[in-house]
């Protein structure tokens, strides 16, 4: 039993070796016994093949006249290869041998392929038959122009009926001088039996550059790359691990990209010479240009594929169209999808400036000219178009989202929004004289209805008061990613349509190797652009004022505040007195953080004029007041906040702290407050 298993393993190993392909210098071969091995002439071919079709028939193993002798690989430039034509197992009469692989054109120019054979033989480069002869011993040659540093599919074959038998293929080119054997790499005519490019590969380098506002630290964000699963669903790429942005908002996400190519449901059609007339090209209508109707037999189409699914059609050297034609700087829509098709033919219209050159085609044997049409004797090949999956770079939600949003959207944003509206900015005429950039209107449209009006400022006011009309509980509700070039051109008339999102489409293209995209990060509610990039252009903004109201912490101000924190009967009373000191104030906002493991917020009291507000978060309270009419916050405004303790307190230092302060002037500028 053990011996049997060992033998089996040995056989498997030998079998594996038998089908492995070495690569450089080698060609694959297939040898077939023809003519029933005894000279009987079948109906499909004669003593010698009369043409390529009959040659094909000699390798058709469904024909009982043919049997496989062997197949494998041989050194191309050898007696077993194309310098002799005798691979293992081939001897006697009545056989045909085919060699396949790739030929490297090392220089651009014309190459001449010579055949010396007994009997018939051919050489093909790609879909082009370069040379062929269809009788007993003799020679022939043919030329083809090739591009430098390109591997071309190679096929050469010959057959033997009786008598001598050999195949020798040589190559000549003026670039390298002299006649040398095919496969002689030292003479610049190398071959290989391994596809030089087995799968599309790319040397991909993908950089994303996110442009943040100056008050945002980009390095607090991480990103991943996802791919589209369906219309409603994306999923993280299996190769994607979170990558942090650097301090400039940049990251290289090459390692996150999924390079798998997937079918797109679109097909390229190519045609190769065949036995059946599957294509008919009707005589054209001649009106300024040639309009051909071309019918493709529906039986050649795979199940479920019709003309709507076609990306490109290439018919021999006659037609090559992706659905449009350009001639003399005019573009014509070939509109195959709109052309009537029936149960027999999928018809499409093909526009071209000059008539299809049937008479000069290299495939004359595959073209039959008839009255009113040409028929093509071809097989149609359908290749599905592949591309990268649709992928997006996606921001991970930060741990401090709530405080980030509270940093971005403050009383100065609300005050500026109110001013823009009250100064006639209402009603979409964008003439409130307060905004400088179109993106400010985008950031002001809190309810995303395409209008900036008091509903939006009401929601902003509700936000300051801790309401939930403006849902900021997830990052995609406030973050907006816009291609930087577009961001810089948002004006007062085209600011709609820029939705918030945390995913940005990468638009991967298999022909690209280096990506470098600039994306601007702005925030819904950031009316004063304190945390969004300042656009480079302020296009078409009517009523533009000269000052953009950003945070200006260096602004000298007379405003001060006195903070007092007292422990009274195990409750903490925090008192903040804000002295305007003759400054005209229209709004204030403060953030008092508290240790929520010990304290619970009880209440707030204030003497503030206007509209006081406060919002309670998990571990801090935002509070302040805003004036939206002609009044001002004058004199001293006092805020008192009460916290209860869950334990007996003897020390309170640091249990509460005033971590954010903001007051705004009449002109909407943010001013620094000095807390004593």
């Amino acid at each position: 039993m053990k011996k049997f298993i060992l033998n089996l393993i040995f056989i498997l190993i030998v079998s594996f070796w038998g089908y492995s392909q070495t690569g450089a210098g080698y060609l694959n071969y297939r040898a077939v016994r023809t003519h029933s091995g005894n000279g009987t002439i079948p109906t499909e071919y004669g003593n010698y093949p009369a043409n390529s079709t009959q040659f094909d028939a000699m390798f058709d193993l469904t024909n009982p006249a043919n049997t496989l002798i062997g197949e494998g690989e041989v050194i191309g430039n050898s007696a077993q290869g194309t310098n002799g034509g005798k691979p293992p197992g081939v001897s006697g009469n009545y056989f045909a041998v085919e060699y396949k692989g790739w030929f490297l054109a090392k220089a651009s120019g014309s190459y001449t392929f010579y055949i010396y054979s007994d009997d018939a033989a051919e050489v093909w480069i790609g879909d082009t038959k370069v040379a062929g002869r269809y009788f007993g011993s003799g020679s022939t040659s043919g030329q083809i122009t090739l591009e430098a540093d390109t591997w071309y599919p190679l096929m050469t074959r010959y057959q033997e009926f009786g008598g001598s038998d050999y195949l020798i293929v040589q190559v000549y080119s003026s670039m390298f001088q002299g006649y040398y054997n095919l496969g002689d790499a030292n003479r610049n005519y190398p071959v290989s039996n391994i596809p030089p490019v087995t799968t599309p590969t790319i040397s991909l380098h993908y950089d994303v550059n996110f442009k943040f506002g100056t008050n945002i630290n980009p390095s607090t964000f991480t990103i991943n790359t996802h791919h589209r699963v369906s219309e409603q669903e994306i999923a993280k790429n299996s190769t994607s691990n979170s990558i942090g942005l650097d301090s400039n908002g940049e990251a290289t996400i090459t390692s996150q990209i999924d390079e798998t190519l997937v079918g797109q449901g679109k097909y390229d059609i190519t045609a190769t010479p065949g036995n059946v007339e599957w294509v008919v090209i009707y005589s054209p209508m001649v009106t300024n240009k040639y309009k051909y109707r071309i019918g493709l037999d529906v039986r050649e189409f795979p199940s479920g594929v019709d003309l709507d699914d076609i990306n490109n059609i290439e018919l021999l050297d006659l037609v090559d169209t992706d659905g449009t034609s350009t001639a003399f700087e005019s573009t014509f829509n070939n509109s195959w999808a709109t052309t009537t098709s029936d149960q027999y033919w999928n018809n499409f219209n093909f526009y071209i400036w000059n008539p299809i050159p049937f008479s000069s085609s290299n495939y004359s044997s595959s073209i039959r000219s008839a009255s009113g049409y040409h028929a093509l004797k071809v097989e149609l090949n359908f290749t599905e178009v592949t591309a990268y999956k649709t992928q997006y770079v996606v921001f991970d939600s930060p741990n401090n989202l709530q405080s980030l949003v509270d940093d971005i959207i403050t009383v100065s944003d609300v005050y500026l929004g109110f001013n823009e509206l009250s100064n006639s900015g209402i009603g979409m005429n964008e003439s409130g004289n307060e905004y400088d950039y179109g993106i400010q209107y985008t950031n002001s449209d809190i309810n995303r209805d395409g209008q900036f009006d008091f509903q939006d400022t009401y929601m902003m006011m509700d936000f300051l008061n801790g309401g939930t009309l403006f849902d900021t509980s997830y990052l995609a509700a406030v973050m907006r990613l816009t291609k930087t070039s577009e961001y810089n051109s948002i004006s007062s008339t085209n600011w709609n349509g820029y939705t918030t999102q945390t995913m940005y489409p990468l638009n991967l293209n298999t022909t690209d190797t280096n990506y470098d995209i600039d994306v601007s990060v702005s925030w819904l509610g950031d009316v004063n652009l304190s945390h969004s990039p300042t656009p480079t252009n302020n296009l078409s903004v009517t009523g533009k004022s000269s000052v953009i109201r950003k945070t200006n912490k260096d602004q000298t101000s007379k405003v001060d505040g006195i903070l007092d924190i007292q422990l009274v009967n195990n409750t903490i009373e925090v008192t903040l007195k804000v002295n305007s000191n003759q400054e005209i104030l229209k709004g204030t906002q403060f953030r008092l953080s508290f240790d929520d493991s010990i304290l619970t917020f009880d209440k707030i009291q204030t003497t503030a004029k206007g509209t006081p507000f406060h919002s309670k978060r998990t571990s801090y309270i935002n509070f302040g007041s805003i004036i939206t009419n002609d009044d001002i916050l004058d004199g001293t405004t006092e805020y008192k906040l009460i916290f209860n303790s869950s334990e007996e307190l003897t020390s309170i230092l640091g249990l509460v702290s005033l971590t954010k302060t903001e007051v705004i002037s009449e002109s909407g500028e943010q001013m620094k407050v000095y807390i004593k």
Binding site: L563, I565, L567, D595, L653, G654, S657, T659, T661
Partner: protein
């Protein structure tokens, strides 16, 4: 042979355990304002000495002087110990000040 046994016996009898001198523990309370800069963690005790029993204030402020948090208290003469809570404070270098109307002591604290 008997002589050797006797010598070994005498040798063993001569061995005595070492005397370990006990060092009395010293109160090592550090006075926080004796340093220029210290790191503090949440709930840490900080000690300092005062020379009067008037109202004192411990104040935590940013380096540009804006007050973040404070505590007022009446100390006992000499060494005092109080807690500092850091969960609400920004993780940066801040200034801790002990002040009365007459004197001020300061130290940089780094919030951990």
């Amino acid at each position: 042979m008997r002589k050797y046994v006797l010598i070994i016996f005498l040798f063993l009898m001569a061995c005595e355990p070492d005397m370990v001198e006990e060092i009395p523990s010293i109160n090592t309370t550090e006075i926080i304002f004796d340093s220029n800069e210290v790191s503090v963690t949440n709930g840490q005790d900080i000690s300092f000495e005062v020379v009067s029993t008037t109202q004192h204030q411990l104040i935590i402020s940013t380096q540009d002087g804006s007050v973040l948090s404070k505590e007022s208290f009446i100390p006992t003469l000499g060494l005092n110990t109080r807690k500092i809570y850091t969960k609400t404070l920004p993780k940066e270098k801040l200034v801790l000040t002990l002040q009365t109307t007459e004197e001020i002591e300061k130290i940089y604290i780094i919030i951990k």
